[in-house]
């Protein structure tokens, strides 16, 4: 399956991309992260501390156990700092 992966703030800076289309068979968000961190040092650095990573699946805040079946867009970012 092909998913669009988006990165924001320092996650984006460490990965070195704001968005990519990615072919994966990962069943969950956690599985997807496990694939990504093996790709290069940037991904490994971005996902080194998972307690500092938030995820949205199809633009809804989600968690690492969330299934990816039929999902189109996954976004990774640090804890939000609005307001």
């Amino acid at each position: 399956m092909k998913v669009d992966i988006l990165y924001f703030a320092w996650v984006r800076e460490r990965v070195g991309l704001s968005q990519e289309s990615y072919q994966t068979s990962a069943a969950t968000v956690a599985d997807l992260i496990a694939e990504l961190v093996t790709r290069d040092e940037g991904y490994a650095a971005a996902f080194a501390d998972l307690s500092a990573i938030c995820v949205a699946v199809d633009q809804e805040l989600s968690d690492f156990a969330a299934p990816l079946a039929d999902c189109r867009e996954v976004a990774f970012f640090p804890p939000m700092t609005g307001g």
Binding site: L6, F8, A56, P78, P79, M80, G83
Partner: protein
């Protein structure tokens, strides 16, 4: 439409006045404006990144939640992104309710959600070096107090 996400500056006083003039059944209007702060006197600018596909829908959802939870007649949320200078308004929340407690609580609730659940990220650029603002534990704790299992803030 009760939320706006924009790069351009807004006039908080004019927004509050327009909001109030459209209110018909409320005896209380509360407005809060968040302003870029320069604690060290060395801030070049603040940069706010956001998630364009998600931000507006998230703000609309929080506004709706606040409207229902506190019986608000009207809600407005404005949040900016992009490059902001010290002293500029970042965001604004306005609530209208029959009585002040609900108007204040609705604004407070919205602020807690905007701080920790709206997809914005602040970066401070000072003397050429950039630092992402870290999320605060106290903001997360404030949000948790609105959950049904918490006795705090519910009177």
């Amino acid at each position: 439409m009760s939320a706006r996400v924009q790069e351009a500056a807004f006039d908080a006083a004019a927004e509050a006045a327009a909001f109030q003039s459209a209110v018909t059944q409320s005896g209380a209007v509360v407005s809060f404006t968040g302003v870029v702060r320069d604690d060290t006197g060395s801030l070049d600018y603040m940069f706010i990144e956001h998630y364009p596909g998600m931000t507006l829908a998230a703000l609309e959802k929080f506004a709706d939640q606040a409207r229902v939870k506190f019986g608000l007649e009207k809600v407005l949320v404005i949040h900016r992104y992009g490059r902001l200078q010290s002293g500029e308004a970042i965001m604004m929340v306005v609530t209208a309710a029959r009585h002040r407690k609900d108007a204040f609580a609705g604004a407070d609730y919205l602020m807690d959600y905007l701080k920790s659940r709206a997809p914005f990220w602040k970066k401070e650029v000072s003397q050429g070096s950039a630092t992402w603002v870290a999320a605060k534990d106290q903001d997360e704790a404030a949000l948790a107090e609105w959950s049904p299992n918490s006795a705090a803030k519910e009177s």
